[in-house]
């Protein structure tokens, strides 16, 4: 069961990271939002890379 949850968690991380990156690409107006999208992605990427 833990393995299934772990896999689901990584899938969710990848989905959210993808969503944030897509928003980052599409954002045209706000510098603040651009920076925030990238910052929020950091823990998701660290987890996907199995670093922390």
């Amino acid at each position: 069961m833990s393995l299934v949850i772990m896999i689901a968690y990584h899938v969710i991380c990848a989905f959210l990271a993808g969503l944030l990156f897509w928003n980052f690409v599409r954002e045209k107006k706000s510098k603040d939002d651009l920076v925030l999208y990238l910052l929020v992605m950091i823990p998701l990427i660290l987890r996907l890379l199995r670093i922390k």
Partner: protein
């Protein structure tokens, strides 16, 4: 930062932001990745007869970061068996250093010594950045310094996740803190299909049960402000030998290591569950480690190794500590030496009581020798050892 962006700036700004964040990721993540994959070479000493993986007894560990090396030191004469476990808590390094000294130097004349130096291998590849833990520490030797990973108390969430809201201990169903599901001194006796840290303790239990191990010694460190420190924790069946060992090291070697009874109502600990679920007699050794105390200065490598801290010195003067403490601190040599001498004394007392199951070893330094020569004196240069004698951990 001002809001608003024009089309000309957009591409430049986005590129710069991505480069900045990738840089932050690399600077922050690379040291953690390197630490998790850093290997410590251990030179097999003259007594090592074979090295196996814990997954031989707990197959689901195979291929995971929780699997770990088990060193066998078998004597020519048959006798009793002892299992020595260190790094159960990987932020208590004196036990690890003591166990590596045993692996690299011991000759077993009678019986068998089994050593698991990185018991919670996953925790030894974890860290605690919130407490400012160093990632490594170096022990000086005659041939240079030997580098070790500084680990954490609990296994990495990368290897066992998610944590439950409450950890329900198996089989007693006592409710423990959620974090203890990754603490290999709360997951005894374990299950073959339980959470991964239960698989680790199950593997060790299987060694004890299937190989008729007589004694289990679990090496730890504890805060100077914690009452269960500088002691041998023993359940009823081990208390006689623990008491004799405690009295002997006090009389013959001049240091204290008192006996604490293992509480029967607190589940999951090695000194309780090993005795309740096998015929093995468990002992848990605690050496003081000022680094783990909370009211201290910065958690530096120097502090980890010499145990000197002005805040603790002030508390000692107010009699708030459970161990004697002065300007000399509580250096690593003393802690490692205590672990080795108490271990040797437990083996000696056991061998006196059960001569047919005796365990006789030589080559292991005692307290005074380690304090005099330093810990690094007993480590061998992996660069000069035969390649097949060097095991990476």
């Amino acid at each position: 930062m001002s809001d608003g962006i024009d089309m000309k700036q957009e591409k430049t700004f986005k590129t710069a932001a991505v480069i900045l964040v990738v840089g932050l990721l690399a600077i922050g993540g690379a040291p953690l990745y390197k630490h998790r994959h850093f290997e410590i070479p251990v030179v097999q000493g003259p007594g090592v007869t074979r090295v196996v993986k814990l997954s031989e007894r707990a197959p689901r560990l195979k291929g995971t970061m929780a699997d770990t090396n088990v060193f066998y030191l078998e004597g020519k004469e048959s006798g009793g068996k002892v299992i020595l476990m260190a790094d159960t808590h990987s932020n208590e390094p004196a036990g690890l250093l003591a166990s590596l000294i045993v692996i690299e130097n011991t000759v077993v004349e009678k019986g068998t010594v089994i050593v698991i130096p990185f018991f919670n291998n996953s925790a030894s590849r974890n860290t605690r950045p919130g407490d400012g833990y160093p990632l490594y520490y170096d022990i000086p030797t005659a041939w240079g310094s030997k580098r070790f990973r500084m680990g954490n108390r609990d296994a990495s969430p990368l290897d066992q996740w998610p944590d439950p809201d409450v950890y329900i201990h198996y089989p007693e169903r006592q409710l423990l803190s959620f974090i203890d599901v990754r603490n290999t001194n709360r997951t005894w006796p374990g299950r073959p299909n339980g959470p991964r840290m239960e698989q680790v303790t199950f593997g060790a239990m299987e060694i004890m049960r299937k190989e008729n191990v007589d004694i289990a010694i679990d090496l730890h460190g504890a805060e100077t402000m914690f009452p269960v420190t500088n002691c041998i924790v023993a359940p009823e069946r081990s208390s006689r030998i623990a008491t004799l060992a405690s009295l002997t090291v006090k009389a013959m070697e001049g240091f204290n290591s008192h006996v604490e009874p293992s509480p029967s109502g607190f589940r999951g600990l090695s000194h309780r569950e090993i005795g309740d679920h096998s015929d093995t007699s468990p002992f848990l050794l605690e050496a003081p480690i000022p680094f783990l105390d909370q009211p201290t200065g910065p958690k530096t490598v120097k502090f980890l190794l010499d145990g000197k801290d002005d805040f603790l010195l002030s508390l000692a003067k107010k009699k708030r500590l459970f161990v004697p403490y002065d300007e000399s601190g509580w250096p690593m040599e003393k802690r490692v030496g205590q672990h080795l001498s108490v271990t040797l004394e437990i083996l000696r007392q056991f061998s006196k009581k059960y001569p047919d199951r005796g365990i006789v070893v030589r080559g292991v330094p005692r307290y005074a020798e380690v304090v005099k020569n330093g810990v690094g004196h007993y480590f061998h240069d992996p660069a000069k050892a035969e390649t097949q004698k060097v095991i990476l951990n």
